[in-house]
Each structure stands twice: as C-alpha cells, then as structure tokens.
C-alpha cells in the first residue's frame, strides 16, 4: 500500500508542473497591458514615462523565461506573488475569500448527497417503474437548467415577491449562523441542485451494477427482506463508487461556484477569478487556476487512495 501511495504521489508531480506551465502560457498570451489598465483607471491620461515605470514595477519588463522561473519557484513554495491590481499578496487575497467558497462547496455537496443518494437508490431498486422514469427525468432536467438562470430567477423571486434582499456581507457561521444562513441558502441550493442531478444518476447506475452482483442474488434467494438486502449489502458496496464519483465531479462543483458567485455577488474565489481575468491580474489568475487544478488533482488522488484501500485489487494494477 505504501508503495502505491508513493507511486501515485510521484505521478502527480509532473502533472502539477505541467499544469503550472500551461497556466503561465495561457496568461502570457492574453492581449492587453495590465500597466496600461492600471494607469487608465476609469478614463485617465497616460504618461509614457509612468507607463514604463509601472511595467518595471510590476516586473513585466523581464524576459519571459525569467518571469516563468519566478513563477515556478513561487509555486513550489506556495508564494504566488502580489496582485498587480491591488498590490496585496495573492495568498492573502485568496484567504479572505476562501471561507465563503469552501462553505458553499461543502454545503452544496452535503445537500446534493442528502438528496441524491436516496433518490438514486429508489430509482435503482424500482428500475423501469414510473418512479424510476420520474427520477431520471428530474435529474436530467436538473442538469439541463443553466445554473445562472436559476440564480437569477431566485433573486428575482425573492426581491419582487418578498421585497427581501440577502445580507451583503459574509459572516462565518460560528459568528452569526442566522446571517450566514440567509446569505448562503440560495447559492447553496443553486449550486447543489445540479450536483444532486449528477450524483443521482451515478448512484442509480452504480446501485444497478451492485444489485446484479451474485451475492445480492444470493441474499434474495435466502429470502432476506428487501430493505435488509438493499441497506445492508447494496448500499455499503455502492458507497465506494459514489465516493469516487463525488470526487471526480468536484470539478463540476468548482465550475458552478464561478457562475453562482457572480450571479449572487458573493465575495468568493469563483468571482475573484472572473474579476482578475477582467483586470489582467496575471498573478491572481495564474494562482487561482493552478490552485483549482491542484485541488482537483489532490481530491482525485485521495479518492483513488480510498478506493485502493478498500479494494486491494487496484493496488497491483
């Protein structure tokens, strides 16, 4: 097992390095001079000398390979430089916004799992019945509705019908749970329903796989009550693939964050990416995209390791 862990860890290093390189290249190809943007403000007057000085200050006059080296070295130490737009360290800016996005992602996953697993199980157990069709239609439909549209309709509904607006400031749940709830409930539902749709379908198909396994049939043959069969055997064994699924669909969640945070105007990491792209704030965009890839890779790794822990066959692949 230890060898397997080591092997996997070694494997992700080139992947991460490659991701860091790709991110750097992407950002350097973007047209538009951030120095010009900073000096331009809303509409200002540009002084050529100030422009040159600004570029120097931002390190943009260095040759590309030097900038790349600085970037890579920083990545290794988790130092992503300073934001070109605000002058604050990127990590600091990130840490301010991270709690909100983390809470959103966690709650959305929890909500979706709570909805999806029972639904998926139900559909699998009652395969091809009207319940199954209904669940399938709902989950496919849920996936089809654009997240940002749901968010928009949500806000509209609340404002027009109830004259209610969400709190404008993020308070962590341990300080003021009610204010936190009021702010987060709608975005959580907006992100969560799509995640739930995907998870429902996967739960259903995994359950179907498991239900056909021989030992289940044996349990049936033995005359065990349906609920006992389902809960004790099928559920336990379909959890592993579902966990896998939750891990791999994590990327899905991150995409949802970006759009939802924009719609609900939450001060989270997702919106930060969109803003930073608009400002040509290279360090921030590079850092965020790389970190997204990084967390995705780590989550996948954890999922694989969990899988390998439970299923020894995998380790010797």
């Amino acid at each position: 097992m230890r060898i397997y862990i080591l092997k996997r860890l070694l494997l992700i290093i080139p992947t991460l390095l490659g991701a860091a390189t790709l991110v750097f290249l992407i950002m350097r190809v973007i047209p538009g001079d951030v120095a010009l943007l900073i000096l331009g403000g809303d509409q200002g007057q540009i002084d050529q000398k100030q422009l040159v000085a600004m570029r120097q200050q931002l390190g943009l006059d260095q040759p590309l390979y030097v900038q790349f080296g600085t970037w890579l070295w920083g990545v290794v130490r988790f130092d992503f430089g300073t934001s070109l737009w605000t002058g604050q360290p990127v990590v600091q800016e990130l840490l301010i916004r991270l709690p909100l996005s983390l809470e959103l992602a966690l709650l959305a996953s929890m909500v979706s799992v709570v909805i999806a697993i029972p639904l998926g199980m139900l559909a699998a157990v009652r395969q091809d019945s009207w319940v199954d069709y209904l669940v399938r239609v709902i989950s496919i439909g849920g996936l089809a509705i654009p997240g940002f549209w749901v968010g928009i309709l949500c806000i509209l509904f609340l404002v027009i019908v109830f004259g209610w607006g969400p709190p404008l400031e993020f308070t962590p749940p341990w300080i003021n749970p009610w204010a936190n709830f009021q702010m987060m409930v709608w975005p959580v539902l907006t992100v969560g329903y799509r995640y739930a749709a995907v998870t429902t379908r996967m739960t259903r198909s995994t359950m179907l796989d498991v239900l056909r396994e021989d030992y289940i049939r044996t349990a049936w043959a033995k005359g065990l009550h349906e609920r006992a069969v389902v809960v004790r055997h099928a559920l336990k064994n379909s959890m592993l693939p579902v966990i896998t699924l939750v891990g791999t669909e994590f990327a899905f969640l991150i995409g949802g964050l970006v759009v939802t945070e924009t719609v609900f105007t939450l001060n989270g990491v997702g919106r930060f990416v969109v803003d930073a792209v608009a400002h040509r704030d290279y360090p921030v965009v590079q850092a965020l995209i790389f970190l997204t890839a990084f967390s995705f890779v780590i989550v996948n790794l954890l999922v694989d390791l969990t899988y390998a822990w439970f299923d020894p066959r995998i380790r010797y692949h």
Partner: protein, 302 residues
C-alpha cells in the same frame, strides 16, 4: 479487457450475435424501447428545424429595433414580447437556436474528433508516445471544464468562434481518454494478436479493427458533450466572454439587463432560459438513451 459481446473469429470479420437491423427498423425499435430518448430526439429535431428555417419562420429581423414598442408585453404582434430596444423576442430566440446549435455541434465534434484521434494514436503506438500523450491529457484534465474554457475565452475575446474554441479544448482530453480505452481493449484482444501473427499489415489491423470499435464510444461522447457545450456557451456569454451585442445568443440575453428589467418585462429573462433548458434537456435525453443502446455493457440495465 473483455467485452460482453461475443465475437466470432471469422476470416477477419467481427459480428455481434444480435441480428443486423436496417436503419429504419433500428429507428423504430429505438422509439419503442426508449421513449425518453425519442422525445429527446424530437426536441433536437425541432430545434434544428427552427434554426435552419429561422430566416423564413421568424416574423421579424432579430436585429431590428422598434423604438415604438420597447418592452412590449407578449401579444399578437410579438408572441414572446419585445426587449429593451423593441426587438422581437421570438425572432431572437429562433436565431439564437442557430448559435446554440452551431456552438454545441462544432465544439463537441471538433473536441471529440481531435481527442479521438489522439486517443487512437496513443493506444496504437503505445510506448513513449502513449506515455507522453497520456501525461498531456492528464494535465489538461486537471482543469475543470468551465475554468479552462473561461481562461481561454478571455484570451481570445468575446466572439462566437472564440467560444467554440474555448469550449472544445477541455473536451479533447475527455474524449481522448475514452477512445483510448476502447482502442486499447481491441488491441489487447487475442484475436488481433492472432491476425498479426498471421502477418497482416499493421495499418490494416488498425483501420479494420480498432477504428470500428471506437465508433460507438465516440458517438456516445459526442452526444454526451453536446448538451454541456450549449450550457457552457450560455454561461460564457452570460459572463460577458461569449457572443457580443447585438448577436441573439441565449446566454447573452440573460445577462445583466434581464435582471434589471425583470419586473417591467419578465419575459426577457424567462424565454431564453426556457430555450436553453429545453435544448440541453433534449440533447441529454437523447444522448443518455443512445448510450444505453450502443454500449453493450449497459444494454441490460436499460
């Protein structure tokens, strides 16, 4: 990896046990056994007809502003109402179908074809080539689809063709992975080794045996990615990275002003959203059922 389909070694041909169906009979069987998929196909067909004939079907020019009729409620003149410039919403939605379908199909086809090619090359060549390509695909796969598309779209600037490129790139590694797996399974098939032992040319081995077997997974992933591509286009347009005004893109119609004018003219925010949802719903339904029909492993599960 064994397939659950019994193969007959028969002088170079691989035949499934199930009887061959003519296209028409296959379609009828599909409709009967997979009503959901048929419904999805009907939606898609409807969308395609509307998009193709929007020139004749649409009552107005989608760019034509009518300053006397700004924010008109849905009425006999304007079935879906008008927007802030007095442009007919129904015509805009019809023309918007063109953009949605164009982006969806192109991005999905381009991404899956490029990915599929890479997958086949990777599986067939094996060795160092395979390793290198796999690494590259892994790197691309490390990025969530929307994030990568966002970064690329922001480089290229707001335009429909740029959105297509931005969306197709994240699809490449995902298609490559699936096609590679399918191609590998064929390669490992003992039968192929036997044929090679008999001395058949390498190229013929590939073309005759690997490619046909990856067609099914290829079709599956193309249809699976279609709905997502349309959604991605809508999301990017909403964020301001996709089509630009005054193009009638559904996502663009929902951005910014739809919320501001929502109390005055809720139809501006409602109809484009319904259009997107319906389109993606149709593609997903169809894609799901198609996968069930084509993928033998899942055949029994329905």
């Amino acid at each position: 990896m064994a397939t659950s389909e019994t193969t007959l070694v028969h002088g170079g041909a691989t035949a499934a046990l199930a009887p061959r169906l003519t296209t028409v009979r296959a379609v009828i069987k599909f409709i009967r056994t997979k009503p959901l998929g048929a419904a999805g196909a009907a939606i898609i067909l409807g969308m395609m007809i509307v998009a193709a004939s929007s020139g004749t079907l649409a009552p107005y020019d989608p760019y034509q502003a009518d300053y006397a009729a700004q924010f008109a409620r849905p009425n006999l003149d304007h079935w879906f109402g008008t927007d802030e410039f007095g442009r007919d919403l129904m015509s805009r939605i019809m023309y918007g179908a063109r953009i949605a379908l164009f982006v969806g199909f192109t991005a999905s086809f381009v991404g899956c074809t490029l990915g599929g090619l890479l997958g086949v090359i990777s599986a067939y060549c094996g060795g160092k080539v395979d390793l290198l390509l796999e690494r590259l695909m892994d790197i691309l796969l490390a990025f969530p689809q929307l994030i990568l598309a966002l970064a690329i779209a922001s480089i290229l600037g707001p335009a429909v063709q740029n959105v297509v490129i931005a969306i197709s790139i994240p699809i490449i590694p995902r298609a490559a992975r699936i096609v590679r797996a399918a191609a590998l399974s064929v390669k490992e098939n003992i039968y192929v080794e036997a044929v090679q032992a008999l001395g058949a040319a390498q190229r013929r081995v590939v073309l005759r045996h690997i490619v046909p077997n990856v067609v099914a997974p290829y079709i599956i992933i193309v249809t699976a990615q279609l709905g997502g591509a349309i959604l991605a286009e809508a999301a990017l347009s909403y964020l301001g990275l996709g089509a630009a005004e005054p193009t009638p893109s559904w996502g663009l119609m929902l951005s910014g002003s739809a919320l501001s004018y929502a109390e005055k003219a809720p139809w501006i925010a409602i109809f484009p959203g319904i259009a997107i949802s319906l389109g993606v719903f149709g593609f997903n339904l169809f894609g799901d059922s198609l996968r069930d029909a084509l993928d033998p492993k899942l055949r029994r599960k329905g």
